[in-house]
């Protein structure tokens, strides 16, 4: 089966060019005269094709980091470059259009549009970037099929879906425009283990197809999918754990995969212990 997700060169390793480059980024919120410094002088580079994971305690600024890096929020200080574009220089409209073509989002709260069917949720975003209706419909159906959303479910409305189905649709929606970077904010936070695995598998496939993934998670098992885990606390990156490329399941036996995951888990838990997790 031809997959539009795999249109890029499969990435068995990341390239050295950063797709996201944050320099000296600070973000401060002010509420009733009280200032809260959420991000402080943060520097970060995410390489093209990388699967990066951000972890940290609650209130560390993980979601804010995701918002600032994706252009959904502006930093108070510092610069953010995404796909060779200084997003701080863009007008609100240009920034929105930039997000449309270069960024995909998977929200923690899923956030499907209630008024639209499953297929329309995906098509609304797809047709926004590509006016070739036939091509977009084909791609949307293909992606939905890949995550196990059959045609009957595609006609349903979000209120009629299970949590797992809804999140899989949300991931497909984030991928339909083939963005350079997929931002996923705790995509498995509301899912049971079975549905979590399905969503994480899809993100892994996307990443294997060459797209960069930046995921925020609290879940250690989910973090194991990443090439690198960044630990954020008090608004700054306190450390990083390079796990390396996870063995693609298609090229190894199940035993190899389990052994690989166990090695990665040991390394990650050690790192998290070190960070005071």
């Amino acid at each position: 089966m031809t997959s539009t997700v795999n249109r890029r060169q499969p990435a068995t390793a990341t390239t050295s060019d950063p797709v996201i480059l944050a320099s000296n980024v600070s973000k401060t919120f002010a509420h009733e005269g009280v200032q809260q410094h959420v991000l402080t002088n943060l520097d970060l580079a995410i390489r093209t094709g990388e699967y990066a994971v951000v972890m940290g305690p609650s209130g560390a600024g993980k979601s804010t980091l995701l918002h600032v890096l994706s252009g959904m929020d502006a930093p108070t200080l510092g610069r953010v470059r995404v796909s060779d574009t200084e997003i701080a220089d863009l007008s609100p409209r240009a920034l929105t259009e930039f997000r449309r073509h270069h960024c995909g989002f998977v929200f923690q709260q899923i956030q499907l549009l209630d008024a639209l069917s499953v297929l329309d949720n995906v098509l609304a975003v797809g047709l926004l970037a590509d006016r070739n209706r036939r091509r977009v419909v084909t791609r949307a159906r293909e992606l939905l099929a890949r995550v196990g959303i059959d045609e009957a479910t595609q006609r349903k409305f979000p209120g009629m879906l299970s949590g797992g189905e809804a999140q899989r649709v949300a991931v497909v929606r984030a991928l339909v425009n083939e963005p350079d970077v997929v931002f996923a904010d705790e995509p498995t936070g509301q899912l049971n283990s079975e549905f979590s695995r399905a969503v994480l598998d899809l993100l892994s496939q996307v990443n294997a197809g060459g797209q960069t993934v930046l995921m925020v998670t609290h879940d250690v098992r989910s973090a194991l999918r990443g090439d690198r885990v960044l630990y954020l606390r008090d608004g700054a990156i306190r450390g990083e754990c390079v796990l390396g490329r996870r063995a693609p399941s298609g090229n190894h036996t199940a035993y190899d995969l389990v052994a690989d995951d166990e090695r990665r888990l040991t390394r990650l838990t050690g790192f998290l212990d070190e960070m005071g997790w």
Partner: protein, 782 residues
Amino acid sequence: MVTVGAIGLLVRRYLRKGRAQLIVVGLLAAFAGAMLNLAALCAFRYPQMIDEQAARLRTPELQVLAASAVATRAVDVLRAESAVTTVESTQRLGEYATLPLGDATVDSLVVYLDLDNPSYLGQTTVLERDDAGVTDPVYLPYLFKSNGGYAVGDDFTITTPRGTRTFHVAGFTTNLYLGFLTMGAIGIGLPSEGYAALADSPQPPYPTSIVQARIGDKAAINAISARVAEQLSAANDTMPPTWTWDWEMLRTAALTGPGIYAVSLVGFTLVVVLVVLMVVWFWIRGTIANDLRALGVLATVGTPARQVLAAFALPPAIVVAIGALAGVAVSYAAVPVVATSLAGQTGLPWSPGVDVVSGLVIAALLALCALALAGLAALRVLRLRPVEALAGGHRSRSFRRTLLPLAGTRGNLHLLLGIKQGLAHRAQSVMVLGVLVVVSFAAMASASLFTNAVSDRHGFMQLLVGDLGEVAAVATQDADRGDLLERIDAIPGVQRAVYKDYLQGTVGGVRGGLVIMDDFAAQRYSSVFEGREPKHPNEIALGAPLADQAGVGLGDHVELSVGPRSQDYLVVGKIATVQYAGMRANVTTGGYQRLVPDHAHHDIDIQLADDASPAAVANQVSTVAGDRLFSVTNQRQSLDSQFAVYLQMMRILAWGILTVTVLVTGLVVGLMVSTLLAAERSSFGVRKALGFTGSQLLRQLVASYLPLAVAGAVVGCVIGWFLVPRLLGVSLTSIGLANASFTIAPALAVGIALVLIAVAGLTAALGASPLLRREALDLMAG
């Protein structure tokens, strides 16, 4: 206590989340309260004021103006009537004249009143008096101040066929019979010295008597009035023509203006109340649908459903009551406008005080309507099962069929998404549709009133009075009738001059006006809408209301009486006219001479060519035949002046209704958009995060209501286009205009629809404008 606390929280949450609805319902209730209060003042307080004035001025039940030589006939008839308790005959001076009234003029019989020697009945009150240093002082009816803009000290020149008289305004008066614009006679007050000087002038006015009578048995007024009128009508060979009015006739005429205001305001209040009720209905239904889980919790902990019902039903009722009371209070600011408009016709200053009881009744009435509907809308909570409520009920969006699927529907993506959003909020969409249908229908009614009556006033007047020539004249008793007509016919611009007498008689026992002509075919415009005009001496055509009251139809025979004589006539036609309120009959000269054999014509109807000036022709008529004429009237100008008050009233109503229509459209669409924005704010934030720009979201939001606004406006205008002219026609049938036909230009209907659509679109765009400014995260955070 816990339950009450929970209910209180529910109400607070419901009011906090429904602030937009709260404001709209309050504002609309204020509109309704204001209009209803003005209507109540016009319908109840104005008649009360007139009755009080009548009692204070000892206004008689019957008043007759006649040349002193024939007035004794009226006095004799009145003294013979057992129901008459008092008769008073006062000698005054009178003449036909042209009076300046602001920028216009009015032709009328002028009766000069000696203010220092007042009559006992039908008194005149001086409202303002400042004659210090004023030479030739004159006291004008109050309508000259309210309608003509006169002030003390202004010059005032009266023009008669025999010359002019110049006075200076020294004050204003109130007199019910002689201070009324459309009754045909106006009382001008003079001090004794001025009155004596006028009587001794080289060309003095005619001796004229005012005969007044108090009639104890009110039921007898009409019959006595008919007998007096017939006696005087039979003596028509004497000049000048006579006027006979009774109090009921005057009161009815005086209450026409307030009646028009009251009926129109009540009609439009109904439209606004309908909109208020629709907003309340959808507000409560929407709140219940969104708060089903909270309601489920309340039901689970044993909260009585009636308490929940009350929590939903009471707040809208209270808001409506407060809004209505505010509207009632504000409406008093508009009272001077209405009072001035009415005083321009009746000559009665009016400043009703604040009527607290009436205001409370109006507020209570509107609040009761809101309470009843809110209770009805909230009835669902009585039937709600806790399990269903806790599960969030059956979400309306979980319909199974995808309408307009993006995969297979061609068209603009944002338009499609907007329409789909509108479909997902079906209740609000239906409300927008309904409101637009109602307001566009009201706008059509208002525009029809404006175009048929106000902007084409000559067409409207012709519709009302039909066959009147532009200039009229009254021949003196000794004038050579044939020679007079020839002289007038020869004047450039005169198309035709014919004798057309206006008299009175009794048809089938019902008093009415008589129009006498040699040949009714000489009219440019026939008012007959069924059958034909009378051609032979034994034929008669009747106004529709007169025929109805006399109980006769085409082909029937009816008895016509003038004075002591009666004859039998065949009804050959029905007339549509507002003259004599439709209580009019057409009879040929030969037919009338069957009753009054020596009848000679005196009223001349002068029809002009289209390009002729009525004023110039009237001057020419005075020049070439002034010595043979008792009066010359610029009928066009006179009608203009008389109708100006009504037209002004219609103008105020039409613009008022159009303004409120536009405001209601804006308010309701604004409410819907802000409600949708509040409900879907997070969804719009997600869209923006996914790459939809603010302007694309704005287009989607506008598109979710605009197609419905377009449909509502089109449907309302189409219904209005078909129904409004017919409704107007039916309403005028009741005052004798059975053949009235109104039209609304298709371009006007299209224009109204476009204006309302534009207002809806602009309001929707304005309401949705936060989408342009607010960023994705901001929206998602709510």
